[in-house]
Symmetry: C2
Subunit: 329 residues, 2 copies
């Protein structure tokens, strides 16, 4: 029995964002179709200036793969003190038919890729067909990933961007205009940026409302990425009152997603959550029904997205003879 080893560099050239979008769609469908086991993750918090390492396990019955992703982040001293990035990742894949370890791959790129793809999947299902303008609140790596993925599913005409730091903003503009040729307009205020949006993407580490309800125009689709644990928040909970609310996982979003805030403030009840994105992809619930509704996709991130994306990387590696085999057994 041999296990395939894949380095970060190999992972990077083994999958396209288009394939990640396909894998994440499969993940959502499998999840909402009851084909997924995804137990609570294990987290270990290290004392400052260290960060956290999480272990996330997912079992997908449709591909018969069990995945385990270990991912660390927030180790601020790492580059200087240890010569390694401040966050790293590793993924194990098991053939669920035998539980043989079939692959160990670097997982540094995986979370960024599958999270980027999640926004694009929601855009296909929930954004207006005539959407042209995207607003980014937050201009870090994940904002770039969102643009990379969404540009594959629609024609983006312009991007309005805001972030706290002028340097980050300027770098974002240069990078995006260079890579995609899409004009980026840097806004002086969040309000100015949000008012332009056909699609609003929030990817900050916000811990309080950044986007007020009165700024969001009818027909906007909101991709809420930043809030993936308790204590984080990006949106005014009032936005949820009349919006069509879609979750990646209802159980996760009501516990630690953006959806928790309006629930906690009794602005909405559980019945006001329209659907999981997978239910819409499976045709069990409608997506957008008119050009005026505000749709919100609350993405907390799921182990099963790692599972299907890593499986695709593994299959591509086998097909293209990339990687190194090692016999642990």
């Amino acid at each position: 029995m041999k296990t395939l080893l894949l380095s970060k560099e190999e992972v990077g050239r083994l999958i396209s964002m288009k394939e990640v979008i396909g894998a994440v769609e499969e993940a959502y469908k499998a999840f909402s179709g009851g084909q997924v086991e995804q137990p609570d993750y294990i987290g270990i918090h290290l004392p400052e200036p260290r960060g956290e390492i999480d272990f996330k396990v997912g079992y997908c019955k449709t591909n018969e793969i069990i995945s385990m992703k270990a991912s660390s982040g927030g180790f601020l001293d790492n580059p200087d003190a240890h010569g390694v990035p401040n966050g790293m990742g590793s993924v194990l894949l098991f053939d669920a038919r035998s539980c043989a370890l079939i692959c160990v791959m670097d997982g540094s790129l995986l979370t960024g890729l599958r999270t980027g793809a999640s926004g694009a999947v929601s855009v296909k299902a929930l954004a207006r067909k005539n959407a042209k303008k995207i607003t980014c609140i937050g201009t870090g790596n994940q904002a770039r990933m969102q643009i990379r993925a969404i540009s594959l599913v629609m024609q983006i005409e312009e991007i309005h961007a805001w972030s706290r730091s002028p340097e980050t903003r300027e770098r974002f503009k240069a990078d995006i205009e260079g890579e995609f040729g899409i004009p980026v307009i840097l806004a002086d205020s969040k309000q100015e940026a949000v008012e332009q949006a056909d699609i609003l993407i929030t990817t900050t580490r916000g811990k309080g409302s950044l986007v007020e309800a009165s700024w969001v125009k009818p027909g906007t689709h909101i991709v809420a990425i930043g809030t993936d644990m308790k204590g984080k928040q990006e949106l005014d909970p009032e936005i949820f009152r009349h919006a069509k609310i879609v979750n990646d996982s209802i159980s996760q979003c009501i516990d630690k997603g953006e959806t928790w805030h309006p629930l906690n403030q009794k602005i909405i009840g559980l019945d006001d959550i329209h659907a999981e994105l997978g239910e819409i992809l499976l045709g069990r619930k409608p997506g957008r029904e008119n050009d005026d509704e505000i749709t919100i996709f609350d993405s907390t991130g799921m182990a099963i997205q790692d599972n299907t994306t890593a499986e695709k990387i593994y299959r591509n590696a086998l097909e293209n003879n990339v990687g190194t085999f090692f016999a642990f057994l």
Copy 2:
């Protein structure tokens, strides 16, 4: 950054049982000394005839290592259908200072080794100094491991053994007499075997009491290995009424160990649990205090035993230039 890969064959020759005993002692001391984080494990149960795969994470502050062991078992069809064992294991070690992945090793041997060592550590702390005779209820692989480890910490003069299957019994006798030169007397009944014991070791998959209280003579030390999850049981709960009860982890043993049964039947209260084994090793609580008391060591197994044992294997590999380096990053 490079990660060390170790195969099963390499792991097997990189560590002696004596070193495992030392590593498990360190684990118990670190655990009871408050130097360990060991979150609830993640378990995935596959449909029959498949088994289960568990993911156990442990962080040891004394060695600054975070370990993750994935171990599967009960895949009955594996040898015929997939050409692999019915249980396998993999271990990841992270340097907790940076969370860099420093080692991926086969974990097939680890659970057996560290569980075998646990009995020996308890024998040092709790068995009578003049103990000579061991009784094994259950004669599978783990019974062999127990003998292998205990033979390093005391002089075993004879072994009395019982198991349900005559074939297994006979094979155990032949193996143990061949490997250790210790005479093995196969008992016709459990009672006959138990009555001989200075040290009683139970390593079955029992789901009900196998050993009655009236059979256990004063001064016996009991190593209760088999009960590591809810629904399992090997001992008559009455044995606990007047015994000195020692747990590997009190929180685990009262939840899913042999100790749960007498607690559940109100034969004992929480205050009747004398100590964790680590507290005795740290000198915070006494071990055996006279030759008449019956001592029970309830071992449910802890991630931190995997941690310290795997770390020792890793250090030995580095020292002896064994293994293969791979650059994931």
